[in-house]
Symmetry: C6
């Protein structure tokens, strides 16, 4: 479990691609919880960090996984050297401080987590902490945000309708080329021309998804490739390491992907 209080001193760079900022802000003002759907590495986490900073709210991020339980979110008594202390989980911290709690890949969490989300997502907006006997009332500034990747759901892992229908929702996708070029430049320091070529390559690679690849190249991987190039690595070697090898283990597929790289970055 990952309890993570990130005091944000500057607003992380985020280039909107639609009205997602307005919707987020309205949902926050109306005390509605929010569900963000989208593929790996398209910027969901960055977007939430950006909004938290813009709204001047502390952010508590939890990467959900198969063994994440309600206690991981709420907190527990820890037996440490010599004494027992109560330790708030990230959800409790977010409620206490009136911040944003962001549950990344929420469908991975165990089902008993839904029970702590339900009373926080209807008009009660409370968090009962059974173990200490407290019932926390979420301040107006508290917001619950969850996300998942619809293209990578397990058969046995979906959000129950009774949970899902408690959220306002929006879909994310990779940013449009002009936006993504800016992101790659901003994060890696490569030239506009190199960034443009990388995004062009990404567009070609993304067309293959569903045919040969489970997922396609994310903006994060583009930034990785750009960083390696900015450090002086030959473009083909950087693309192989950062864009091709992370996507497939099949030698045929790797060769095909690398030949697409060659069209953008000829030897």
């Amino acid at each position: 479990m990952n309890a993570l209080n990130e005091p944000v001193f500057e607003v992380p760079y985020y280039q909107p691609t639609g009205q997602e900022c307005e919707l987020f802000e309205q949902a926050w003002k109306q005390h509605l919880p929010m569900l963000i759907k989208g593929p790996t590495g398209c910027g969901k986490t960055r977007f939430v960090a950006h909004m938290a900073a813009r709204l001047k709210l502390p952010l508590f991020t939890v990467s959900c996984h198969d063994d994440l339980t309600a206690a991981d979110l709420i907190g527990r008594h820890l037996i440490t050297a010599g004494s027992t202390v109560w330790c708030d989980g990230p959800l409790t911290q977010a409620v206490r401080t009136g911040g944003i709690c962001y549950l990344d890949e929420v469908v991975e969490a165990r089902k008993d987590t839904t029970v702590v989300l339900h009373p926080l997502t209807d008009d009660r907006r409370i968090l009962p902490i059974e173990r200490t006997g407290e019932v926390l009332h979420a301040p107006d500034s508290f917001m619950l945000v969850v996300s998942y990747n619809p293209g990578y759901q397990h058969v046995l892992k979906t959000l129950k309708p009774s949970t899902r229908q408690r959220f306002v929702a929006m879909s994310f996708d990779f940013p449009p080329p002009e936006v993504e070029i800016g992101v790659v430049q901003q994060e890696s320091g490569v030239s506009a021309e190199v960034a443009q070529r990388l995004v062009g390559l990404a567009t070609s690679l993304r067309r293959l998804q569903g045919y040969d690849l489970e997922e396609s190249v994310s903006t994060r991987l583009l930034v990785y490739a750009a960083k390696l190039m900015a450090a002086g690595m030959p473009p083909r070697m950087a693309c192989l390491a950062a864009l091709v090898e992370p996507l497939s283990d099949e030698s045929d597929t790797i060769a095909a992907l690398q030949s697409i790289v060659d069209t953008q970055f000829p030897a």
Copy 2:
């Protein structure tokens, strides 16, 4: 587990659609436990809260889940900093105070919970608390209410006939349009005309259930959309976020739903 003692200071708004209030009250007077069946977000929880307030009874709500055990309902000794204290679970609290214990989505709970429900649901009306050696006799005002959604039952999760036949039962559905319009207005503050359009849209969307959608739009989601509109958001954007995106991840389905939105809220 969610132990939740809600002192109710005012009767929550509830618009009956049949004789459900009379049946609930008679079951309560005859000491019969009640089972409520119905889809997500149709108002079961609100109805129970309404009846509890009308009957001036404390209400203890438990959202059941895969890991909910008998101890979660009855209580346990908690090891806190420096001492050990017994902590009543919500069922025990309801029995002690003669209130209503409401187990939402009871089929999700683990099977050992049935053993604590059985002696409370026949003419013994007792709750044995093994761990403290107590046997509580439920006062006349105590009532056990359980609910589940018949349209979303797991294959492996049903109420055993031997448990189910211990309850008086009733079916809930979405309220008729004239009632739902009132609910949407009451909860969000939109005009009667907007509420009417939203309910008309809901009626259109609900016709699709079973074809393209696992569940359809709930009254709760209508209220979400209405709240966003009341805050000044354009209707199409509000409907997309609150009615369409929460129902599906498929881009084809989302487009089809949004085109239905367009008929009620043209651009």
Copy 3:
């Protein structure tokens, strides 16, 4: 786990339908354990309570479930506030006091429970309590009774032949009409004529079992309907809530059942 010592001050009403009382009494006199088979709500629990009272024996009832272990039956050391105390389970209490231990739906219990039943069900009639080092010899008046519902057995849950062949067995079914009419009257206070109609309705509904219904209407549900009628509720509404809704979630089936109700209780 449900440890339940019920001091019985009066003999609960029970109307025999055959020689079940004689067989039970002979098995008790011969120190033979007894297995009772029969559908939900046909009166097995009431019968055992009746016999325990007639034989002036304390009765310890345990509703078995998936997580019931040997320790739940025998007892355990409980860590309570400040000290550790041994707490007899219901089986141990029954052996110590020479009473009847009744394990309802025994096939639901975990398999390690069989190990405590075996030495009590052959000529040794002993209960070894490993944790305290005691070996209890069951007094002559002790009797072990188990039950299950043959119509609702899980594929993976049956009594092993090596356990089953340790019991004298009998089959229960719903009582014949003239007996059931008396039970309904006795328990609810309705007139003989209403009780007769209800039992007639039950007979019609029970014919459907195996076709549309997993189980059919029990005597307990008849009493529920009768109680609601005795409190002034219209018969059709009482039958819908107590006889029809508890049996099915399918709207077609509910309508079919309700039309059978109409023939006995026309509007």
Copy 4:
């Protein structure tokens, strides 16, 4: 777990049907462990008790089950009120006292039990007790006996060849009629003529095994029926309760079995 030290003051009645007593005694003298195979209720447990008494050895019987672990056999530290004490399990007790440890239905036990059996069943004949640091050397008089029912093995539950090949083995079956008649008389007190009829009935019923019945009537059930008759119960009623109902839940099968009863005990 069932730790059970039975000081045997008299030799239990056992009627040999072959050279099983000689084989058992030779295996004991040669320090070879023994495996007994046979159906439920055919007398395996009685035979072991008989041999233990004849050889003047203490007997420790363990009914194995799905959750039986090595610690259940060897022993554990028990946390009791105020102190911690080591408590020998039945296998350890048998080794310490040089008695017989009898593991009934050994295939049911968990696999970590085999690790404690292996060093006891080869020429080392030792029992290491990890928790106390002891290594017990089995005295010459110690013997390990295990049994199972080949007709009722789970697919996933068999004795591994590496365990099985450590035992001398023999097969048991129901005793021949003349022996079984004697047993029934001896145990119940009925006349020779009634015992003969009961054994004749058993022979008829056993022919049905494999066709309609998973297992057939055991000697134990014959004794049950005889006891009920000896107490004055009509033979047909005694046979229904003790021989027919324990074998089947199917009404057709029960009727067929009861018609066979009628041929031996006409109304």
Copy 5:
């Protein structure tokens, strides 16, 4: 778990059938771990005991099973009466004393055991003990030996290639007749002529493996039969108990096997 320090005072009898002793000794000298493959009861355990004694090394044998964990091999803090003491597991003992640790049927162990084997089986030859903070460096005389039976592997239980490729390996089989005759004589005291007949019988029985039998008769079972004969038991009865019944539960197969016995030991 079976921690077993066997101080070996004399070299156990072992008759080599090839160059297995040379290979074992070279592997030990080169600090290479060894994997021994072979059927049940063919002498793997005896061979390892023989080599340990010849090389004058202490031997620690562990029979692996489904629940064997890394802690069982390394050791743990034991809570005993009044105090907590660290207790070395058999692997740790072997490393500390520079002996041989022999994991019998290693494929049965849980997967977390591989993590303690890996750093001991490459050129690091270390055993980190997380719980005490120690890192033990294996002395030159330490050797790890594992074995399994390729003919009895579970589908889900194989040695991962990444573990398997860390061992020098050899295959064992039953000894050739002239060797096995010597073993049987040596262990049981029967005459050379009886030993010869028994080994001839074993050869006939082993030809049936794969047709009717999961495994065939081991040398250990031959010794059992010989011991019973040496004690005066008729050969056919001894062979039935020690060679036939341990191999099959099917009456047809048992009769076929016994008829093969008759050819070697006619009545």
Copy 6:
């Protein structure tokens, strides 16, 4: 779990086969985590040890397995004799000291480990330690390296795309012949001619992979064979023990492999 701090005093021998050293060093300088893919025993672990020594970084190696949890990586409070002490896991040690943490066969680990890897693999580069309340910021010199074998992935065990896309990746394979010959000589001390023959044999054996063998002969096994030869063992016997027996249990396959050995090392 294997916490293993290896102070490296000399740079382990590693012969590069491409630009893997440059890529590793650039990834380390750019603070990018690295994923290494490749078959068993091809030198991944040695490569990481080599790079750690070259970069003068402490190395913490963890062999992942089915039961490896987040606590195994991060650390836990250990209850030792008389006191409770916090013990850093290998990942925490690597972060504190600014070293390399290498998770070998990361796909084997339990899913809750991903949650501790995620915040270390994006631009936050932090390790929250819930149990002690610490949040460690990874120093610039910290690097996370993971590996797995694409040819031996379980169906249920793959790296989630959301985890995988956080790493720069490269593929390893067995070294080319001239390099491998040098490795074999360096590690075992055999002559160049013997090393050449062994590598020629490996090339022949590796062509069989996918036909008869799950995996083929690794460089490590070649070194084993060479060590045995260097100690004087006949080449055919050394190859059988070190190259053939570890690869297969099938006697046909073993004979075929050994006949290939004969072509390189004729008798």
